[in-house]
């Protein structure tokens, strides 16, 4: 089957990130925490004053940027995968029940979502960070706790649309039991939407991790993350703009890749768009 360029791009970036994250200790040229105070603010190697030893330069403490970016991919990938999947599962299951069962269940879940969405998300994560302490697990929990509502709402709406479809009525008229209808008629028709949402959420998770790192609420200072690199680079943006630009580039490319991947996956799991491209 022919896959689109966007899908290949997304998959390639995601796989590269995953491989780099897993093999960081072997592929990183330096220890990301090793300071070299004689070589601070080295520009990337392609600048006139750059050096081969530090391919993407060094930061204010002389730490190797490339190595830090590679280690930063670990945090990004972990958050993107774990937080997005957990938020998606929690929200979708609640959305599915809410949309399919309706009535009291729907009323309770929908009110909960509304109250939840009224909380300012940043405030919620600051509170969580205060209670749970800084760390990657806090970021993951914060994203799950805040973003499940996104899935719940959209999945609920889609389930309600599906439930009123003729083929669901047809399934009722051949006497299929309700749980069977949910599993074989409704869920498969919600999957393309779920996949798209999930990949968008993975992009969002990477950005949220960066924001929390930037605000100093993510991992401890001794771990390299893209967000904390942007935050540190911000102070020296006039002398060494690449300190900020490089991790930002990483974030932008990853988020773009996630979105492209989502589009591609949706086409793959949806027979309608699958045949439309044939």
């Amino acid at each position: 089957m022919k896959v689109s360029v966007r899908f290949s791009f997304g998959l390639a970036v995601l796989l590269t990130l995953a491989v780099l994250a897993l093999s960081a200790p072997w592929v990183a040229p330096h220890d990301p925490l090793e300071q070299d105070l004689l070589n601070t603010f080295q520009p990337p190697a392609w600048f006139e004053t750059g050096s081969r030893a530090f391919a993407l330069g060094t930061d204010s403490l002389g730490r190797d940027i490339l190595s830090r970016l590679i280690y930063g991919a670990r945090a990004a990938i972990t958050v993107a995968a774990v937080a997005a999947v957990l938020a998606a599962l929690l929200g979708s299951i609640l959305g599915l029940l809410s949309g399919y069962l309706g009535g009291v269940v729907d009323a309770i879940i929908s009110r909960l979502v509304e109250i939840w969405m009224a909380f300012p998300p940043v405030l919620l994560s600051i509170v969580l960070a205060a209670v749970l302490g800084a760390g990657l697990h806090t970021v993951v929990i914060a994203i799950v706790v805040i973003d499940w509502t996104r899935f719940c709402r959209v999945v609920r709406a889609e389930v309600m649309v599906q439930r009123s479809r003729d083929y669901v009525a047809s399934a009722v008229t051949i006497g299929l039991p309700p749980m069977r209808i949910l599993a074989s008629e409704i869920v498969p028709n919600v999957v393309p939407l779920f996949v798209t949402l999930l990949s968008l959420e993975m992009g969002i998770a990477i950005v949220v991790e960066a924001i929390l790192s930037f605000a100093g609420l993510s991992v401890a200072n001794d771990t390299a993350t893209w967000g904390s690199m942007i935050q540190e680079g911000r102070q020296y943006v006039r002398q060494a703009w690449w300190l900020m630009a490089l991790p930002m580039g990483c974030i932008i490319v990853s988020v773009l890749a996630m979105n492209a991947l989502g589009d591609g996956l949706r086409e793959l799991v949806d027979p309608l768009s699958r045949s439309a491209r044939r």
């Binding site: 479809r165 003729d166 083929y167 009525a169 047809s170 399934a171 009722v172 008229t173 051949i174 006497g175 299929l176 039991p177 074989s184 008629e185 498969p188 028709n189 999957v191 949806d270 027979p271 309608l272 045949s275």
Partner: protein, 287 residues
């Protein structure tokens, strides 16, 4: 002989608005009963009540729907579900939307067989193949592996007819099964339906607005207007000697191949007005 399906004085309202105002209707075993009416007359709603597919805000005020001597209307949902697919099946109105778009044809056909006939996968597949032959689909092995969007409207309707006949039900409710198809395909599908109906001795409640189709296909017919049956009887009798003014008006508004030159008469506004007034009087009388 007792009718297979007997609807007595069925009244239903949606959001306080009366939709059915005391419908009487009989379908005898092995016969095709036509239910004819304009859009909004309530004809589809009758079929839906039998299948319990009426909208959630619909409220049945009174009446009786007896199937094979059992009252479908007031039995538990669980008990009612045991009839669906096995004894009573539906041929839906729009074949384009009645099949699950993300599932292949095979599981959609075998579900009902495995569910009600206790067949295993292979037996059900063999039976599905056989029923596709029955509905004259070319290359049925291929069709079983295809997705609904890969089939034409006529083919999808044949698949749905095959599903409806799969468990050899006693009654099939056909809700305007040819409205969404073009005329030539319509004719083939109707012929097919008639052939299967005869072969398996199935009773059909045929809901339509097309008097021509009723004349060709049905044994008995009922004319519905504003939620009540204004005339019922054997097809030949109703066509040759319509007793009710509305039936006469409907016939005059239908093109006839045996009288091509005749101008079509619209249904007189005064008659419609009068019928609606009668219907409203019925509502206030019941309240």
């Amino acid at each position: 002989m007792n009718p297979l399906l007997s609807i007595r004085d069925l009244a239903l309202r949606i959001g306080g608005q009366p939709i059915l105002r005391g419908v009487h209707l009989d379908v005898h075993a092995g016969q095709v009963a036509g239910l004819v009416g304009e859009s909004g007359a309530g004809k589809s709603m009758v079929g839906r009540v039998v299948l319990r597919l009426q909208p959630e805000d619909a409220h049945v005020d009174r009446g009786e729907v007896a199937f094979d001597g059992r009252d479908l209307l007031w039995m538990s949902e669980r008990e009612h579900a045991t009839f669906l697919g096995r004894d009573i099946a539906l041929i839906p109105q729009n074949p384009m939307t009645a099949l699950n778009p993300v599932a292949r044809i095979a599981p959609q056909m075998t579900d009902v067989l495995r569910m009600h006939m206790g067949m295993d996968r292979d037996d059900a597949l063999a039976r599905a193949l056989e029923s596709l032959h029955d509905v004259q689909i070319r290359d049925p092995e291929r069709v079983l592996r295809q997705f609904p969007h890969e089939l034409s409207g006529g083919m999808r309707q044949r698949v749905l007819i095959a599903i409806a006949f799969a468990c050899r039900p006693k009654l099939i409710i056909a809700d305007e099964p040819t409205t969404a198809l073009d005329v030539t395909v319509q004719k083939q599908v109707l012929r097919l339906l008639k052939r299967l109906q005869r072969a398996y001795g199935t009773a059909i409640l045929f809901i339509t607005h097309d008097l021509g189709v009723v004349a060709k296909l049905c044994d008995t017919m009922s004319v519905i207007h504003a939620g009540r049956i204004v005339e019922a009887g054997p097809v030949a009798q109703v066509f040759l000697a319509p007793a009710h003014a509305y039936t006469r008006a409907l016939l005059a508004a239908t093109p006839r191949y045996d009288r091509p030159g005749e101008a079509l008469q619209p249904i007189p506004a005064a008659l419609t007005e009068q019928l609606w007034n009668e219907a409203r009087t019925l509502d206030t009388g019941a309240a």
